[in-house]
């Protein structure tokens, strides 16, 4: 860990101002950042501790939305009565991630900013365009087991590793961001994370001097909510693939199908075409296959991770079958 100045700002705006410096990083739970600082993947000169600045509350808004403060821990979010009752896909996604020890520390905002687990990103003696622009991608010609099959670029095939944001993407949640000039903006979770393109170092749309203040969940909707995570170990492992689904039926037809996928791309993957395809249809194995085809029509494997394409297709089918109570 490189030496850094540890600062505890007096206010959120102060924190945002301090974070404007490109050599400064905000720290909340620290479960990902400290890991990366020990490896010198992250080497901030200044650490801005944003804990104890409020933002630890979950509040019910009169319009039926639910606001989760950026510093609400994963544990607090997963255990909140409203989230358990109205947004079980989110509670389930959070509980499927990491461990109780880590969830007790990890925060909502921090988890959205979690960086990739790519083995080449976390090893500073290997090439990585995300960590060191222009150094190359070790994974494309190397071991790409964890890596993306959708939305990749020739620069980077890393995945976003989290679970929580996948459920938030299915829920169409919104991220609230405060800038150093006290301006605020709101970005849909679905647009918060970036694809690698030719700027692989960019995980998300946050600009220097911007801080996440909250995530708002839309009013609850009818339907079955499922979070399905496929992993090598039965616990404490990142997803090979995961599916967050909110599926509602009207009679024997699908009336709502909000889906998002983890482990497949540089961001929680949301493809609006799936909803268009599924809504109004009778559930069937053929329909689920069609959905899989659509989801993965542009998928590209890199050898080691080719399996993710059939795995994602099968996991999607399993989730749709469960949600629609269809035998396949």
């Amino acid at each position: 860990m490189k030496p850094f100045q540890y600062t505890r700002p007096e206010s959120l705006v102060h924190a945002a101002q301090l974070s404007q410096d490109t050599e400064a990083l905000a720290i909340a739970g620290g479960t990902n950042l400290l890991d990366l600082m020990k490896l010198q993947v992250e080497t901030p000169d200044r650490l801005v501790d944003i804990n104890r600045l409020g933002l630890g509350e979950i509040t019910e808004n009169t319009d039926g939305t639910l606001r989760i403060g950026a510093l609400v821990t994963n544990t607090a979010a997963a255990n909140h009565p409203r989230i358990r009752a109205d947004y079980p896909v989110l509670a389930r996604a959070i509980l499927a991630g990491a461990t109780q020890q880590l969830r007790n520390k990890a925060t909502t905002g921090g988890n959205l900013c979690q960086r990739t687990r790519c083995y080449y990103f976390t090893n500073i003696d290997q090439p990585c365009n995300k960590r060191e622009p222009g150094s190359g991608c070790g994974a494309i010609e190397g071991v790409a087991r964890l890596h993306a099959v959708l939305g990749t670029s020739t620069e980077c095939i890393a995945t976003y590793p989290g679970d929580m944001a996948v459920a938030m993407s299915a829920l169409d949640a919104a991220v609230h961001i405060l800038a150093e000039d006290e301006s605020e903006r709101t970005v849909p979770v679905r647009d918060f994370h970036c694809l690698p393109g030719d700027t692989p170092w960019r995980d998300n749309v946050l600009e220097p001097g911007e801080i996440i203040t909250a995530v708002t969940l839309p009013p609850p909707v009818q339907g079955k909510q499922i979070y399905r995570k496929v992993r090598e170990r039965s616990s404490y492992a990142f997803a090979l693939t995961s599916v967050a689904a909110i599926i509602a039926m009207e009679g024997d037809r699908i009336a709502r199908a909000d889906l998002a996928f983890g482990g497949l791309a540089h961001k929680p993957w949301h493809d609006p075409r799936l909803s268009t395809l599924l809504v109004g249809k009778l559930p069937s194995a053929a329909l689920f296959d069609e959905a899989g085809d659509l989801l993965l029509e542009d998928a590209q494997g890199f050898g080691e991770n080719d399996f993710k394409i059939p795995l994602a297709r099968r996991t999607l089918a399993a989730v749709l079958a469960e949600a629609t109570e269809t035998e396949i």
Binding site: E141, V230, R233, Y236, L240, F307, R314, T315
Partner: protein
């Protein structure tokens, strides 16, 4: 006085069974248990020393070549940095088990990515860790180092090739045959305590606190590396946070700490990071195996072939002994076995729990399952029909043989259904359920051992040796053996381990610890009993000791009469090893579920039945078996080292991405100990048990996966992607 015994023949007297204390074999809790559960047991990095400096190893970022320069000035000006050590005596690999001499030194020569090349020492850990990352190094890299074991010409491992009869002919003529190729990926020991050392000099005398398994060899390895005499070295390792082979030999941090402490004239601590433990200690080699089995209509083997390719660095003598139990487990007159080593530039390959059988047995037992299916014979029955009377290659008798009992008792306890075995017969929701089984075998070893047993004037006993307890239960079984022999409850027996000021034990490794050090303690006690018997006026055979009283008369305190009585027990394996084949045997039974959509496999329950001679402590022995079964589950489903194809570096070098099992991966586990006495194995009739529990277990899971869903896998670990790829349409 020394009580020396060299075992040239069976020891049938079974003296331990004639003792009166009644502690031997009992399921007693560990004597050091409270220290462990309260965090008061000290491990290597936890000793306090005044003015201690902290060292962090720097590792190479090329695969092969030389370090042309290290710019020490790049870090010496950093706060707290004391020195950059680049001494040619530093070691670049861990020593192989029982080497007894320094491993490869001269760290400026690089032969694998991640090899230690220097040590940065600073006042604090944070300062040293940062400086180690900032150190500027230039290399003269040598391109083209071979990295793929299957892409190089391999060499035959000496003494492993067997050719008996005509296997090709037997395969051609067989009523049923199987010819399969099976791959296993590399494994890491990944003991929970990282390798660590604290070195402290007083003049020319070095004391090193370390996390090592075999101090009796490590002291010679360290002295050799440093160019000093063994007499000037004291190693201490009373608590070792797991080893599993990774701490058999002296490792890089210990030698570096000793050199730095001497140079700086102050104590130095070096703890490897978890990533360094993964990258520069030991890997179990991946294996590429071919199994050929031929049998007649009754399922009796007529041909047995097992060929294996493993890998290691150039110059390393160790080759994963894949065929070890294949030589004798099953009969078959026509035999062909071979072991080849590919020389590649990945990190050192060495011993990881149950070297050889851990990967050889699962391959063999998958092939046996396929043969059972081909022949239409129940897999338990197929194995029962093929247990040889004598070692089929060397025509030696077995010291004892409990495979049949383990198979029968295990099958009964598990509720094995010997009916037809068609896959995909049981479904629960999304899951297919199936069962499978496999045999277990692990060669038995013993090693020379010394221990001093003293009767103190107050009537307690003190046991001293440099033997280690790496979690195996050495403290407790020694207290039980000595307590049983000398008629003392275990709380009257103090055991001091892990200090080379004490007599040399056998070290912990190869599952030989308990039988070897236990036999030495037994010999010492036997001699003490003789002296006590004389004092009582009876013979040793007639002497009965219980709760500190001899023959219901005088107490030990009275017999000792204020003076300590001490014996050095010295056990040596003798010629008997040439006269018998000695092995632990067992059987595994598993029930698994496989998700029909995702290919995820989970072990619902697993049972292991094992015969390994005398059980010294039913609790710790069972725990050893549980540990082995847990490792079987890891080897079956999740554990795999992944190497970069371009520079050979270990890619998944941490505990997040190297998937050792977590709690939730382990379903119901049951252990059945099929007790026996093996008078050939050791004077205490015990055999090794630490490794047996993972010698074949992965195959029981593979066979259960096949039974569950019809996917016949020939590649371990059986991750969801491999299962999906193997599913029949």
């Amino acid at each position: 006085m020394t009580a020396h015994f060299k075992q040239d023949g069976p020891v049938e007297s079974n003296r331990l069974d004639g003792m009166k204390q009644g502690v031997i074999g009992k399921a007693l809790p560990r004597v050091e248990g409270l220290a462990k559960v309260t965090g008061t047991a000290p491990y290597a990095a936890e000793y306090q020393a005044a003015n201690m400096a902290e060292g962090v190893l720097v590792t190479a970022t090329i695969t092969r070549g030389t370090v042309s320069s290290i710019d020490t000035q790049s870090v010496l000006a950093m706060p707290g940095v004391l020195a950059v050590i680049q001494d040619s005596r530093m070691t670049t690999r861990a020593a192989q088990g029982t080497a007894g001499q320094a491993p490869q030194q001269e760290p400026q020569t690089v032969s694998y990515w991640g090899q230690p090349i220097a040590l940065v020492v600073a006042e604090t850990f944070e300062q040293a860790r940062d400086a180690a990352k900032q150190l500027t190094i230039t290399y003269d890299a040598e391109e083209g180092a071979p990295l793929d074991p299957q892409a190089v010409e391999s060499e035959a491992k000496e003494g492993q090739t067997v050719n008996q009869g005509d296997l090709a002919h037997a395969m051609a003529e067989a009523a049923h045959s199987v010819d399969v190729t099976i791959d296993t990926e590399g494994h890491a020991s990944a003991a929970m305590e990282p390798h660590a050392a604290i070195a402290q000099w007083e003049g020319d005398k070095l004391t090193l606190y370390a996390s090592l398994q075999m101090l009796n060899y490590n002291i010679a390895e360290l002295a050799d590396a440093l160019g000093i005499e063994e007499e000037d070295v004291r190693l201490r390792a009373p608590y070792v946070g797991g080893g599993f082979g990774s701490k058999l030999g002296i490792s890089e941090e210990a030698v570096a700490a000793a050199i730095a402490a001497k140079q700086l004239d102050r104590p130095v601590r070096v703890v490897m990071s978890r990533q360094q433990v993964f990258q520069c200690i030991m890997r179990r080699s991946e294996t590429h195996q071919r199994l050929r089995l031929a049998c007649d209509d009754d399922g009796r083997l007529t041909g047995f072939g097992h060929d294996a390719l493993v890998s290691n660095l150039p110059g390393e003598a160790f080759a994963e002994p894949v065929l070890q139990s294949s030589h004798f487990l099953y009969g078959g007159d026509n035999r062909s076995l071979s072991l080849n080593v590919a020389r590649i530039h990945r990190m050192t390959a060495g011993s990881v729990r149950a070297p050889g059988e851990a990967v050889g047995m699962p391959a063999l037992e998958v092939a046996m399952d396929q043969l059972a299916e081909e022949a239409g014979i129940d897999p338990v029955e197929l194995r029962l029909r093929n247990i040889p009377e004598r070692n089929p290659e060397e025509d030696l008798p077995f010291s004892s043989h409990k495979l049949a009992e383990c198979l029968r008792q295990g099958a009964e306890a598990f509720g094995w259904d010997s009916g037809p075995r068609t896959p995909r017969q049981h479904k629960e929701g999304e899951w297919w359920i199936g069962t499978g089984m496999a045999s277990a075998a692990r060669v038995h070893n013993v090693s020379e051992a010394k221990v001093r047993v003293s009767l103190i004037a107050d009537g307690t006993a003190l046991v001293r040796t440099d033997m280690t307890d790496i979690g195996t239960g050495t403290y407790t079984i020694l207290a039980q053996i000595v307590g049983e022999m000398l008629g003392l409850p275990v709380d009257k027996v103090m055991v001091e381990l892990g200090d080379t000021q004490n007599p040399r034990g056998p070290g912990s490794g190869g599952s030989w610890g308990a039988a070897s050090i236990g036999s030495a303690a037994f010999m010492a006690c036997h001699a003490l009993r003789k002296t006590l018997a004389e004092r009582v006026g009876t013979s040793e055979e007639e002497l009965s000791l219980k709760d500190g009283i001899a023959n219901s008369g005088p107490s030990l305190v009275e017999l000792l009469d204020g003076k300590e009585l001490s014996e050095l027990g010295h056990y040596e394996p003798g010629d008997i090893a040439d006269d018998y084949t000695a092995s632990g045997f067992g059987a595994f039974f598993a029930q698994v579920r496989v998700n029909r959509f995702t290919g995820e496999a989970r072990v619902d329950r697993m049972l292991g039945a094992f015969g390994f001679g005398r059980v010294l402590n039913a609790k710790t022995a069972r725990s050893q078996c549980l540990g082995g079964i847990t490792w079987s589950i890891g080897a079956a489903l999740t554990e795999s080292l992944m190497f970069d194809p371009n520079d050979g570096h270990l890619v998944n070098c941490d505990l997040a991405e190297y998937h050792m099992p977590v709690h939730r991966d382990i379903g119901e586990v049951e252990v059945l100990m099929v007790e026996e006495r093996d008078p050939v194995a050791s004077p205490i009739q015990a055999k090794g048990i630490g490794e047996l529990g993972m010698c074949g277990g992965a195959a029981a899971i593979a066979n259960a996966i096949y039974n569950a869903c019809g996917a016949r896998l020939h590649h371990f670990p059986m991750t969801p992607d491999r299962i999906l790829a193997a599913l029949p349409d």
